[in-house]
Each structure stands twice: as structure tokens, then as C-alpha cells.
């Protein structure tokens, strides 16, 4: 094998070209890492939202609670289904919820934006067991009070004590909650009846969340309700529901890879160009190596390694650059709702981006390396 020092020093000697070519890989890999970390963060936020004991019900034909509408009789019926856990007083653990995306106009500045508001009853806090207060208190029934998720607080900079104009009323912020990074953190929670009367939705619900004793029980409950003849609802365990929501990012994922491949093609041609130039300049050296007895495949390997070296250098910088996005929080709208998430760079992403860079390096280096392999020693030295 041709010693690695040969490749290393050649890259070093023409360091400007090396770095410029490597920079192409840096850009692609950084972009890829950031795009994947973005999707990863969204998926993580979605999946964290589900509690495996919970079954979420939607009106027939709806996959998303934004469009779901269920009436009181149906809700009352499903709440008493077999398999729903009960509290100490014998009442089913069921949370009736009304979910609305409402206009909000901030006091200063004239830009409208949407807030996601969830009206709930006290049972909600037993069903959504992971939700807990960070500061302030919960809203009181019958009052125009809201508690806000910490994602909302972060993106809108609301404080406890602020009032929000939602519908025709002023609502006061009384508390901040968190829920292990779940989608709820992007929401405002308030009294169900207060919200319903504001928006003329009395007797209508977006969803009912039923809590089973065990995850296994939840699966069975969902299954039974889906197949039931007497009630007509969609029923999914929460993890499944949120996973489906995350699947909406599939298209984005495809788009991310398409972008990466196009950018990667740029890097690929960059390294190809650089390596062809290098081989042109070093054809006499190749000839001498062959005369000394190095086989053609050793030459091929040597120049492939050199291309891979460029890709590795650029790729490493790219990973480092992309990893800087790790933990950065943003909000993103998924379907009709917005979700707060943190960019998440993890091992598989780093490995994926690394392999991508090396693959591009390999493809870009292959043609030049093949031409190096085919250098005819006597002709090159003449």
C-alpha cells in the first residue's frame, strides 16, 4: 500500500485547495445535520406527548383534534366504556377537551397570531399525569383564567399576571406548566365551559381522552372502541396518535434528503475536480510508484483515500457546525397546530451525516482514482 503520509502530505501541501474543496462538504453536512436535527426534534416532541395508558378519541373520519367534533351524548357514552380506569369516587378517568386555535392580537404591534387553547375539566390533570405546574396556580373553573405551557411562555414572552385578549374577553395568565416536552407545552389551558361559552361551542368537544389502568389496557380499549358498532369514533392510544402527527414530517424528511443530495452533488464534483487536477500534476509520481512495483489497485486505493480525506475533514467541520444547533428551540406548525421543539443532534444523525459525506467523497473520488490507476508508467514518464 502506498503510505498514508503520501496522501496526508499532499493534502497538506495544497492546503488551500484541500480546504476549499472540504468546505463544500462542510456546507452539505452542516445543512444535513441541521435538517435532520430539526425533524428529530419535532419527532421527539411529538412522541414525548403520548402517555401509553391514554386513549384519545376523535369524531369519525378525523385524524387530528383540530377538526374533530364530538357531541355530549356520544362523549357520555364512551366515558363509561369497559376498561376505563376510575378514580376513588368511582368516576371514570376521562378528560373532555375542547381544542381551538384562536386569533390573538398582542397589545403592542399589530400582528395577529394563533394561540392554541385547550379547555379542560379538573379530570384532565388526572388523565394527563405528566403535566405539572412550574409556577403560579391552575385556573379556577368559571373564571377567564389561563395557564400556559412553557413553550408558549418562551415564544411569546408572556408572564403570569399578563392579560390576553381572546375572543371578546380578557383572560388572565395565572400559571405556567410543563409536560416533559409534550405538545401541550405549546398550548394555553383554561376552563372548558368558559371557553365553550366564549366561542359558542357548548355541548361540543374536540376530544375525550380516556385513561386505562395499563398500556395494555389502553391498546385493548382503543381496539374495542374502533370496532364498536354502538359508538362511532376514532380511537388511538396517545403514543400512536402523536406518532401519526410526527409522520406528517415525512415529506419534509424526503425534501431534506433531496436537498442534501443536490448539495452533495456539488461537493462531489468539487472533489472530483480537485482530484483530477491533482492526478494530472502527479502522473509522473504515479508512474514511478508503478515502476517500483506498486500494483494498480494500490494507486486506486491511495487516491480514493485522498478524496475520502477531503470529505472527512470537511464533513467533521460540518458535523461540528451542525451540532451547534443542538438544543436550539423553535416553534413549528405541524398541520393546523404549532409545536415547540428543540433541535436534536444525536448519534444516528452524526453517523448518517458522516456516512453521507464519505459516500460523496467516495463517489467524487472514484473516477479520478480510476484514471490514476490507468496511468501508463512509460507514457507518463516520456
Amino acid at each position: 500500500m502506498v503510505p498514508l503520509a503520501y496522501n496526508y502530505r499532499n493534502l497538506q501541501v495544497r492546503w488551500k485547495t484541500t480546504l476549499m474543496t472540504a468546505f463544500g462538504f462542510t456546507l452539505v453536512v452542516a445543512a444535513l445535520v441541521i435538517m435532520l436535527a430539526f425533524l428529530n426534534g419535532i419527532e421527539a416532541a411529538c412522541i414525548a406527548s403520548g402517555e401509553p395508558e391514554n386513549v384519545i378519541l376523535l369524531s369519525k373520519g378525523n385524524q387530528d383534534e383540530v377538526l374533530s367534533q364530538m357531541e355530549r351524548p356520544l362523549v357520555a357514552q364512551v366515558e363509561n366504556s369497559k376498561g376505563v380506569a376510575v378514580d376513588a369516587a368511582g368516576r371514570p378517568l376521562a378528560s373532555r377537551e375542547l381544542f381551538l386555535a384562536v386569533h390573538h392580537r398582542p397589545p403592542e404591534g399589530d400582528e395577529f397570531h394563533f394561540l392554541q387553547v385547550r379547555g379542560v375539566l379538573p379530570a384532565a390533570f388526572r388523565v394527563h399525569s405528566q403535566l405539572h405546574l412550574l409556577s403560579g396556580r391552575t385556573f379556577r373553573p368559571g373564571q377567564s383564567e389561563v395557564m400556559i405551557g412553557k413553550g408558549v411562555q418562551r415564544t411569546h414572552h408572556f408572564q403570569i399576571g399578563d392579560t390576553l385578549e381572546i375572543g371578546r374577553k380578557q383572560w388572565q395568565i395565572v400559571g405556567v406548566f410543563e409536560s416533559r416536552g409534550a405538545a401541550f407545552e405549546s398550548e394555553l389551558w383554561c376552563d372548558l365551559n368558559e371557553l365553550a361559552s366564549q366561542f359558542r361551542r357548548d355541548g361540543l368537544y374536540s376530544t375525550v381522552v380516556l385513561r386505562a389502568e395499563t398500556p395494555q389496557g389502553a391498546e385493548e380499549l382503543a381496539e374495542r372502541l374502533r370496532n364498536s358498532r354502538s359508538v362511532s369514533v376514532e380511537a388511538l392510544t396517545e403514543p400512536k396518535y402523536y406518532q401519526k402527527q410526527a409522520e406528517q414530517t415525512r415529506l419534509l424528511q424526503t425534501a431534506a434528503w433531496v436537498i442534501a443530495w443536490f448539495m452533495g452533488l456539488g461537493a462531489l464534483f468539487g472533489v472530483m475536480n480537485t482530484q483530477f487536477a491533482a492526478i494530472g500534476q502527479r502522473s509522473k509520481e504515479i508512474a514511478v510508484l508503478r515502476i517500483l512495483g506498486f500494483p494498480a489497485r494500490a494507486i486506486l486505493l491511495s487516491f480514493l483515500i485522498e478524496a475520502l480525506g477531503i470529505a472527512a475533514v470537511g464533513g467533521s467541520f460540518g458535523v461540528a457546525l451542525g451540532a451547534a444547533a443542538n438544543g436550539v428551540t423553535r416553534s413549528f406548525s405541524l398541520g393546523a397546530r404549532s409545536i415547540d421543539f428543540a433541535f436534536r443532534v444525536d448519534g444516528p444523525i452524526v453517523v448518517c451525516a458522516g456516512i453521507f459525506a464519505l459516500l460523496m467523497g467516495l463517489l467524487g473520488g472514484l473516477l479520478p482514482a480510476l484514471s490514476a490507476m490507468r496511468v501508463k508508467p512509460l507514457e507518463a514518464l516520456r
Binding site: 503520509a5 503520501y6 517500483l292 506498486f294
Partner: protein, 243 residues
């Protein structure tokens, strides 16, 4: 001279095709070279010197005829075998040195050893010995660019002899050097033959260089026309076309 020649060139011809035109570069070459001889190959430009050297050194194959080296018919070997054989049997010295610029003198000399199954320690010993032989022990870690032309050629010679080959071929090794440096390089080649019993095949234009050889072959238009043994003072002129 030993009875068994190291190299036997038997009725060799070399032709090239340029388009549909056939160019005969060598024809009817018959030659024997004894082990540990120092042979100079001279002749006008374009007469076929380099072509013949390349055939003997296993860099190219004759169009017809056969070549033996130490009993092995090298004109029969495929490319891979020929390459392996070259590493072991032949050392190459070039007119323009052809050292790898990014590698140090030490690393340049080590290159051919990487193709053999040697321990790192053994390689190191051989590299140091070769560089010592050419008087460059104090320049181990210099790059070619940091060495004079003469020094570079001595590194080239060290690289040629580091695998301890039987044959060292040198195509105009002094063509790019001044008079004094040329003398030093020729001294070195001569000592390789005299002290290490290497067989030297030297292609040159320079009469002074040819004068160092024990045997001088002259080639003209692709045929050997003169074969002179210097040490005995004998002079032979062959009609090479009639063997």
C-alpha cells in the same frame, strides 16, 4: 565472467503502431549480460536505448523474441507478476531522479520495501544502510526540494538498491547533473558493481560515463552494432543480423 549469464535477450524486436503505420524500434536484438557486469548502452537519440532498457527491466514486453533473467523468462510474465518481479530484481535510477516530493529522503528510499514482507525494524535497517552507502546519513529527513540535484540522485540510487536487487538500470542518470556531480554518481554506480556485485545497465550519451563501464554496447536504428569490453581492451564488431 560466469558461464551462466544473468540476462539473455533472444532475438527481440519491438514495434509500435502509430495509426496504421508500423514503427520498428528494435529488431533482432541478441544479447547476454553477465552477473555483476557494468554495461553501458550508447547510441544516437532515438536509436532505441530506452526501449531496450525498459524491456530488460520488465517495464514493457517485446513484440517478439524472449528475455530471461536469472533463468526466469520475464517476457512471459503478466503485468502483476512482472511488477512483483521488478520490485525484487531491479533497481531504477532516473535522469530526473523522480523522487516523491512530499516524502523525505528516508521515506522515498523506504517505498519499495513497503511492497515486501519485512518487519518495520528490518525496513529501517535497510533504509539506513542504503542511505549510508550513498553518503546521505545526515539528510534522512530532508525532502527532495531541500536537497541538491546530486544529493537527490544519490537518494534515487539508495532507493534503487534498498531492495538488494541483482540489476540496477540507470537511464541517463547524470543527464541533469554538472560535471563534478556526474563524476560522483558514476563513482557510486561503479562501487555498487565492484563492491556489491550489482549488475549495472547504464544508458548514456556521455562518453565519460560510458568509459566507466566494463562493457559498452552501441545501438543504432534499433540494432546493436558494437560490443566492446573495456577492461580487456578487446573490441568486437558484430554483424548482429547474422547470429
Amino acid at each position: 565472467m560466469s558461464a551462466q549469464p544473468l540476462i539473455v535477450v533472444d532475438n527481440v524486436a519491438k514495434e509500435y503502431m502509430r495509426g496504421s503505420e508500423r514503427i520498428v524500434v528494435l529488431r533482432d536484438v541478441n544479447l547476454e549480460i553477465a552477473a555483476a557486469d557494468f554495461v553501458a548502452l550508447i547510441g544516437p537519440s532515438g536509436s532505441g536505448k530506452t526501449t531496450l532498457l525498459n524491456l530488460i527491466a520488465g517495464l514493457d514486453q517485446p513484440t517478439s523474441g524472449r528475455i530471461w533473467f536469472d533463468g526466469l523468462e520475464i517476457s512471459k510474465l503478466d503485468e502483476a507478476r512482472l511488477a512483483r518481479w521488478r520490485t525484487n530484481a531491479v533497481g531504477f535510477v532516473f535522469q530526473f531522479f523522480h523522487l516523491i516530493p512530499v516524502l523525505t529522503a528516508y521515506e522515498n528510499v523506504e517505498l519499495p520495501l513497503l511492497l515486501l514482507n519485512l518487519t518495520a525494524r528490518r525496513r529501517r535497517e535497510q533504509v539506513l544502510m542504503a542511505l549510508d552507502l550513498v553518503g546521505l546519513s545526515h539528510r534522512l529527513h530532508h525532502r527532495p526540494g531541500q536537497l541538491s540535484g546530486g544529493e537527490q540522485q544519490r537518494v534515487g540510487i539508495a532507493r534503487a538498491l534498498v531492495t538488494d536487487p541483482k540489476l540496477i538500470v540507470a537511464d541517463e542518470p547524470t543527464g541533469d547533473l554538472d560535471h563534478v556531480k556526474s563524476g560522483e554518481i558514476l563513482d557510486l554506480l561503479q562501487s555498487l558493481q565492484q563492491e556489491l556485485q550489482k549488475t549495472i545497465l547504464l544508458v548514456t550519451h556521455d562518453p565519460a560515463a560510458a568509459a566507466r563501464a566494463r562493457r559498452v554496447l552501441r545501438i543504432d536504428k534499433g540494432t546493436l552494432v558494437e560490443d566492446r569490453s573495456m577492461h580487456s581492451g578487446r573490441f568486437r564488431l558484430f554483424e548482429w543480423t547474422v547470429q
